[in-house]
């Protein structure tokens, strides 16, 4: 299946992603229902969904750009502009609050030298307070990309940030040590 790599919107997918996109279209029953997975495909590659990506998606899925944009802005995890390299999202909801979400946020603010909602001047780190992450019994916790970091202490939070600064690959501790 061929997906136009260039269709006048200035946006295109590489070969692998084009194949993935074709797979999405084959799986979902209507073009419109392919919208969310398509936006994820784009964001996973680019880190955000640009205006050109919106135009391209609208053309591919036969939707108006307004409809695509509406969905991008409705869902908190879709981003319409470039993000910091590492976005630390600390849960500030009730269970984590009881177990120390506020001190964790304050500690990270000190460590990174920014306040919640801000990005470091070098664009490396952003710090955000977010709602429940589904790790309530393991709080305080934070989300970084696809993974959760749980049972955080000042030392573990420092180790995470220091590791990321050194360029270590993130070592999620979300999942117990499962095979394969």
């Amino acid at each position: 299946m061929s997906v136009p790599v260039e269709d006048g919107t200035g946006f295109g997918l590489g070969e692998q992603d084009a194949a993935r996109f074709a797979g999405i279209l084959a799986r979902y029953p209507t073009r419109r229902s392919a919208l969310m997975p398509t936006l994820w495909l784009i964001q996973d590659r680019d880190g955000h969904i640009s205006d050109a990506a919106v135009a391209w998606t609208a053309a591919q899925l036969e939707l108006s750009e307004a409809k695509v944009r509406e969905v991008v802005s409705f869902y908190a995890m879709y981003r319409d502009r470039p993000q910091a390299r590492h976005v630390l999202q600390v849960c500030h909801n009730i269970s984590c609050h009881i177990m120390g979400a506020q001190p964790l946020l304050a500690h990270l603010e000190g460590k990174l030298g920014v306040r919640r909602g801000e990005t470091t001047p070098d664009g490396e780190f952003a710090l955000e307070g977010v709602e429940c992450l589904g790790a309530c019994g393991m709080g305080p916790c934070l989300q970084l990309g696809k993974h959760l970091y749980e049972h955080l202490t000042p030392e573990r939070a420092d180790a995470l940030v220091d590791g990321l600064r050194r360029g270590d690959p993130p070592r999620p501790d979300t999942d117990r040590d499962l095979e394969g």
Partner: protein, 434 residues
């Protein structure tokens, strides 16, 4: 008491390979699906699940077999959706099922889809569970390769397609019509019911939405029978239930119990009581949206739908939040009201404006800028929200608000009289649990 005897859903949680197809099959996995398709047929599956009394574990507790029966007879295209949006604060049980036993969820989803005549099943996983989306997709791929799903499955007798759909951060997509709209490629805003999704849902076709934990119980029920399932739990609340427990108890986490277990016993024997230096103040039994109970009320109740209703609260999702004495209840309700205000989808004025009002009034109280009339004002705002909106999110905000106000009124009154709130407690979990 041997707590392991109640582990139906959590029986593979401690294994390192429980998520693998080979391990699942060696454990008897997919036998129920084979039997459903090869021997029983859809009607018999529906009957067995109905007889088991299995109730929906997503929050409302509606009997699964009864809901399946709402699909119009002879409907040509039916869809089945598994609700893995799990975003109710305090809840993290579905995540364990998907992580440690994804094939049980897949088999349960396939049997449930078969029972209602669906050819397409969508597992909707909240976007924050990124690693789980990968894990479940891998398991679905294994199930396709093994011939349990897709073209040619069961010699063409039942060829189910299964999509793993990743959400993108919106609590409201957990509401079933919001979820369906989200899969359609729209904003996840709920619709007015009726029509109910079982009659007109995804793409205008009959659609059944069930929670992860609901479908995960189905393979066991088919294998062991409705009678065996009813040996656990009570007459009206049969079976076992996963509780996700958070707060400073000795053993937080996901625990499976027979419904009807006295809270006192659960708290003492399963959870090990409070962590050192902590004292029990209050318990939210079923996720942040249900009314809070005082410690004394909690100690007198039991963990089943009826007992909790009699105690003035609900079993909800089983997200149990244990609140210690050091917590300021007004501070906690501010956290919750921020959440509901943040997550209101904005369609209904009472919800959009009401959640904002509740949040602002509580915030004002805590800043020491409150007035004695504010408590009555909070109640009036609640009255203007409950039962007046498209979906129950407005009620989900009102229930904690009213119950906090009713059961911990002196804390609100002190602030209304001009006392400034104390600084938030700044301890870390490590100090709390050590």
């Amino acid at each position: 008491m041997n707590q392991d005897q109640y582990r139906i859903l959590s029986r593979r949680f401690d294994r390192r390979d429980g998520h693998r197809l080979a391990a699942y099959e060696a454990d008897g996995g997919y036998r129920s699906l084979k039997r459903a398709v090869g021997e029983l047929g859809a009607a018999a599956v529906r009957e067995e699940v109905k007889a088991s009394g299995l109730r929906g574990r997503g929050g409302a507790g509606f009997p699964a077999g009864v809901k399946w029966g709402f699909v119009p007879q002879g409907a040509e295209t039916v869809y089945f959706m598994v609700n893995a949006d799990e975003s109710e604060p305090g809840t993290f049980k579905d995540r364990y099922l998907l992580d440690y036993d994804p094939h049980a969820v897949i088999e349960g989803s396939a049997i449930s889809s078969f029972a209602v005549g669906a050819k397409l099943c969508v597992i909707y996983i909240r976007g924050e569970f990124g690693w789980l989306v990968d894990r479940v997709q891998k398991a679905v791929d294994e199930a396709y390769a093994a011939g349990y799903l897709g073209p040619g499955a069961f010699g063409g007798a039942y060829e189910l397609e299964m999509i793993v759909h990743k959400g993108a951060g919106a609590y409201i997509c957990g509401e079933e019509t919001g979820l369906i709209n989200s899969v359609t490629g729209q904003k996840g805003q709920p619709n007015i019911k009726p029509p109910f999704p079982a009659v007109s849902g995804f793409l205008g076709r009959p659609t059944i939405v069930n929670n992860v934990e609901t479908v995960a119980a189905v393979p066991w029920i088919l294998e062991h029978g409705a009678v065996a399932y009813r040996k656990f739990g009570t007459e009206k609340s049969p079976g076992t239930k996963l509780f996700s427990v958070s707060g400073p108890v000795r053993r937080p986490g996901v625990h499976e119990i027979p419904l009807g277990l006295p809270f006192r016993e659960f708290f003492t024997d399963w959870l090990g009581g409070m962590a050192d230096g902590e004292e029990l103040k209050a318990v939210i039994m079923g996720g942040s949206s249900v009314p809070v109970l005082t410690a004394a009320e909690a100690m007198e109740t039991a963990l089943d739908y009826e007992s909790l209703a009699a105690a003035g609260t609900m079993l909800g999702s089983g997200g149990m939040i244990v609140i210690p004495a050091r917590c300021d209840m007004v501070e906690l309700i501010q956290v919750l009201m921020h959440f509901y205000w943040d997550e209101s989808c904005g369609q209904c004025t009472p919800c959009r404006e009401g959640t904002g009002w509740l949040h602002r009034i509580v915030k004002r109280l805590r800043r020491g800028e409150g007035a004695p009339e504010d408590l009555a004002l909070l109640e009036r705002v609640c009255d203007g929200m409950a039962g007046l909106t498209i979906c129950p999110l407005a009620d989900a905000a009102v229930m904690p608000m009213r119950s906090f106000l009713q059961r911990f009124r002196p804390e609100f009154e002190a602030l209304a009289a001009g006392r400034r709130a104390t600084e938030p407690d700044s301890r870390w979990a490590r100090e709390i649990r050590s």
